[in-house]
Amino acid sequence: MSDSTLVSVENLHFSRAGRPIFSGVDLEIPKGRITAIMGPSGTGKTTLLKLIAGQLMPDSGSVHVGEDNVHRLSRQALFRMRRRMGMLFQSGALFSDLSVFENVAFPIRVHTDLPEHMIRDLVLIKLQAVGLRGARDLMPAELSGGMTRRVALARAIALDPDLIMYDEPFVGQDPISMGVLVTLIRRLNSAFNMTAIVVSHDIKETLSIADHVYVIADGRVMASGSPASLREAQDPRVSQFIQGKPDGPVPFHYPSKNFYEDILAPSEVS
């Protein structure tokens, strides 16, 4: 592993309820860059993030974050490692019983002994960065989806982590808040030199911010490279995904028997 790599995933195997999700994934996430992990829905992109964070145990293979082998750490060491990580959940996952301010203050309060006025300053800086300083007294239930995600982003960067993972940051956002998020992710990366992993299937936005892209399908890495190289990829499956064609080598239909036979088969519903 070279010095410029922050996260390296080697030969990762993982299955859920007997169904293989990953069969031999190798990834390297370079330090200080935005790496995108893309792929069709249901290929386990979120699962991959949870494996990197040590929330799930792989069947075999290893994940290193810095010097640590994530799945060999003790429970305590694992929690210590996670302080250097931030994760933006798809749902935001704000603590519903705390206000916006307290949500962002939460990681600072539990991990530092800073006096109250310094916590206040830090929280306001982070909220200012996501443009929600004025919403500090609202409760999570009063926020719109886009605002929730921005608050969650402020919370994820509260402790200035080395690595921040975005789980589907663009899903369900209107074009304006999508643009806001794209700008935020890029600005955080360039201003604070944070390493970022973006998991997404929104091709246009993701390709516009990523330095490096991995495309995952069928439990393994199908393609990787810079956004420009992927746009010109010859592999029909990659080009189908990048260009968003409805049918092609990646089938539109869930695996099933022949349509004609199925229609003519006697009804199974009695």
Partner: protein, 258 residues
């Protein structure tokens, strides 16, 4: 599926979840309490304990009144209605207060705990807490467990006191049992170290078991709406059955003469 396989699978699943719940309890309780923990515990104590008071008080009052009424009808047939106080106090202290309090607690506080933790899991709040580097077992589970453990005996004391007051109301004020013999007979037959303390011990055991079941069901559920509703039902059903079963065992150990 053959019945043999079905039985085997059920047994293994049950054993596995019992094991998981034991590990869960050990992990949640095995660490030193901190000041921060005390504040979280206080908050849960309010929701679990104080908010359960009204239902406990009303139930205690009515149950005490009913025992007095029924007891009077039977006892006065033998001309022994002065033993009413003894009957009310003993049945409340030994059985009804711990058991009924635990059943009500499972229904009110237990189901709320399961649903709350389940919803936190379904909305990824527990996951994101882990990602922030905070152990949800410490932050979320442990204060709720302690609040449940400590609330139950206090609620049981309330139930007994209010039940005895209810019995006094019906027996003495309404049916005209002599006040002196009501209290006197009670004091003559209730032994503090046996009846009161054993009743308290029961409630401590019930508090641990019911809270444990409620919190574990919430933590272990499948994070969907159906999963939450099932887990809530399981909390009430398993909690109540555990209380009734344990009550028999504890009664046999405490009051049985082997």
């Amino acid at each position: 599926m053959s019945p043999l396989i079905f039985l085997g699978r059920k047994t293994l699943n049950t054993l596995e979840s019992l094991g998981r719940s034991a590990i869960f309890l050990a992990q949640a309780l095995c660490h030193l309490p901190r000041l921060e923990g005390a504040r979280l515990w206080l908050r849960q104590m309010y929701f679990v304990g104080v908010m359960s008071l009204p239902i406990i008080a009303v139930s205690g009052l009515f149950i005490g009144m009913v025992i007095a009424l029924q007891g009077y009808l039977v006892l006065s047939g033998f001309g022994a209605d002065e033993a009413l106080g003894q009957m009310v106090a003993l049945s409340l202290l030994r059985e009804l207060a711990p058991v009924v309090t635990a059943l009500l607690f499972a229904g009110r506080a237990g189901s709320a705990l399961t649903a709350e933790i389940g919803l936190m899991k379904a909305t990824e709040q527990l996951s994101s807490m882990e990602m922030i580097g905070v152990d949800p077992l410490r932050r979320v589970i442990s204060p709720r467990l302690w609040a449940g453990f400590l609330s139950m005996p206090i609620l049981t004391v309330f139930f007994s006191v209010i039940g005895i007051m209810g019995g006094y109301l019906v027996g003495v004020d309404w049916l005209g049992v002599d006040q002196g013999s009501f209290w006197g007979n009670m004091q003559g037959s209730v032994v503090f170290m046996d009846d009161v303390v054993n009743g308290m011990l029961k409630s401590v055991v019930f508090g641990v078991v019911v809270t444990w079941i409620a919190v574990f069901q919430g933590y272990d559920l499948v994070p969907t709406s159906e999963g939450i509703s099932r887990a809530t039902t399981r909390t009430v059903v398993f909690g109540s059955l555990a209380v009734l079963g344990l009550d028999f065992i504890l009664t046999a150990l405490m009051f049985g003469e082997f």
